[in-house]
Symmetry: C2
Subunit: 258 residues, 2 copies
């Protein structure tokens, strides 16, 4: 059975897409079969891996129940790494889905259909910076949430909202066993006091949940998407690539993958 | 009559709040009376200026038509600078508003009521990273849009979406005269090729619309919010403060303010 994980926080620009893309690439490089599902209408994960945004290519039709998710799966230039791309139509889901019966279970059902037809070890979902119906669907479909926490003040302030949303999804009965798999510090800059203050604060609040691996601020990570590839392909010997490789090992061990 | 401007782009973490807060502070320091309206449930502009998030303190009641916006206006520690704070209840607007008659005109009407009772030279609206009903309300209420463009690949990719949304709001007749006031480059790092590539690309697409002032990447800007004040109060002699002061002059001249 696949492990379904959503990378999420409503705070914008904290490294959700960068973490989803590079963690997926590193897990695939370990030999696991990985599906990256781009649930953000901005489709950054899609272009970050070099795919075109094609109208009708997203999970949208499967959410509405007209299409099979398995038909949207595309290969990437990296072995073992597959993607369900996104495109602008997905914006329509925020308006369409709330009108439908069982509107929070649509992604969960679509993924159940997929995993009956295709085997993936891990499904990673990249979500938009919001608490709307797409992110809620991801929370309901996932077994756990991976929360990127940028080492800055506004991001730390917003982290309590993730817990609040998680609690609501659990109590509503839509996904009673949802948990936080872990919190990964991103854009960590050892030279600034702000970074160490945020790390300290996060460890105080979340203790063991905080991954030991910290992702350093690195221009190489910001450059890789413009070449349409993960950090592993763009600059495999960089500190940033090493950080995501070690994070992938921590994630694999928390999931109990051999 | 006040100039109403919305700081917006759906891309997350590009400096919308940082620009709204510091531009408002610099315009106020020029002697203009400025209202900063926090339309993001994350309420970063609210805490960035040192205010508490108080339940019922946001624009939410005025959007629903139960309360007067003028009653939500609060002073800040800086002369001439006022704020309508935000808080988590505002999240409910994404669900409540679409069910109401004239749901896209709610903020416009609330602001009309305000400007009949209180005089502001400029109203700056900070918006969330989404194309949802709150951002749409801001597009309908505003005379123009100020678009922060982070000097990175994903942000550049997303800029066409702002134009697309603007066009839709114009053509729908909800706000036929809405325009882009300007595009401000943020987190500019002169040492990286990526920054100059993005600046070049932006100038090619948007020409004169791009402000000459570029906001440099500066840790001082990321530190100021944790002290609850603008860059003018936190580090008035920094390059970042100077950049926002010059931007405020460019904005004042584009608005035709004397
Ligand atoms: N560790 C890092 N060091 C430097 N730049 C980074 C790092 N992680 C991400 N970035 C860059 O910062 C920007 C924001 O990251 P990203 O787009 O992954 O965040 P996000 O949370 O997915 O944003 P959104 O909220 O819009 O979905 C991007 O331009 C990305 O390339
Ligand atoms: N020029 C800059 N240099 C360095 N850091 C900056 C700069 N501008 C903003 N920041 C920091 O980058 C982060 C993102 O900025 P900010 O929160 O203003 O973006 P935003 O677009 O409002 O995000 P959201 O999409 O979540 O509303 C914040 O931690 C902020 O302090
Ligand atoms: Mg993203
Ligand atoms: Mg913001």
């Amino acid at each position: 059975v696949s492990h379904v994980i959503v990378v999420a926080t409503q705070k914008g620009g904290v490294g959700k897409t960068t973490t989803a893309v590079n963690l997926a690439a590193c897990l695939a490089a370990q030999g696991r079969s990985v599906l990256l599902l781009d649930l953000d209408p901005q489709a950054n994960a899609t272009s970050g891996l070099g795919l075109e945004k094609v109208a009708g290519g997203s999970v949208y039709g499967a959410l509405l129940g007209h299409e099979l998710l398995v038909d949207k799966v595309r290969a990437t230039s990296q072995p073992n790494l597959f993607i369900v791309p996104s495109e602008m139509d997905l914006c329509g889901a925020e308006i369409e889905l709330p009108r439908m019966e069982g509107h929070l279970q649509r992604l969960r059902r679509a993924l159940q259909g997929l995993t009956e037809r295709a085997q993936f070890d891990v499904v990673l979902i990249d979500s938009p910076p919001s608490l709307g119906v797409l992110t809620l669907n991801a929370f309901v479909a996932a077994e756990s949430v991976l929360v990127p926490l940028q080492c800055e003040y506004y991001a730390l302030e917003g982290i309590s909202t993730v817990n609040w949303l998680l609690e609501r999804v659990r109590q509503s009965g839509e996904n009673p066993s949802l948990s936080i798999m872990g919190i990964v510090m991103t854009m960590y800059d050892a030279r600034t006091r702000l970074s160490s203050q945020v790390v300290e604060e996060a460890s105080r609040h979340f203790g063991e949940k905080v991954f030991e691996t910290r992702i350093p601020r690195s221009t190489r990570l910001a450059e890789a998407p413009s070449h349409g590839c993960s950090i592993l392909q763009y600059d495999p010997h960089s500190a940033a690539a090493a950080a995501y490789e070690v994070l992938a090992q921590e994630v694999a061990s928390r999931l109990g993958l051999s």
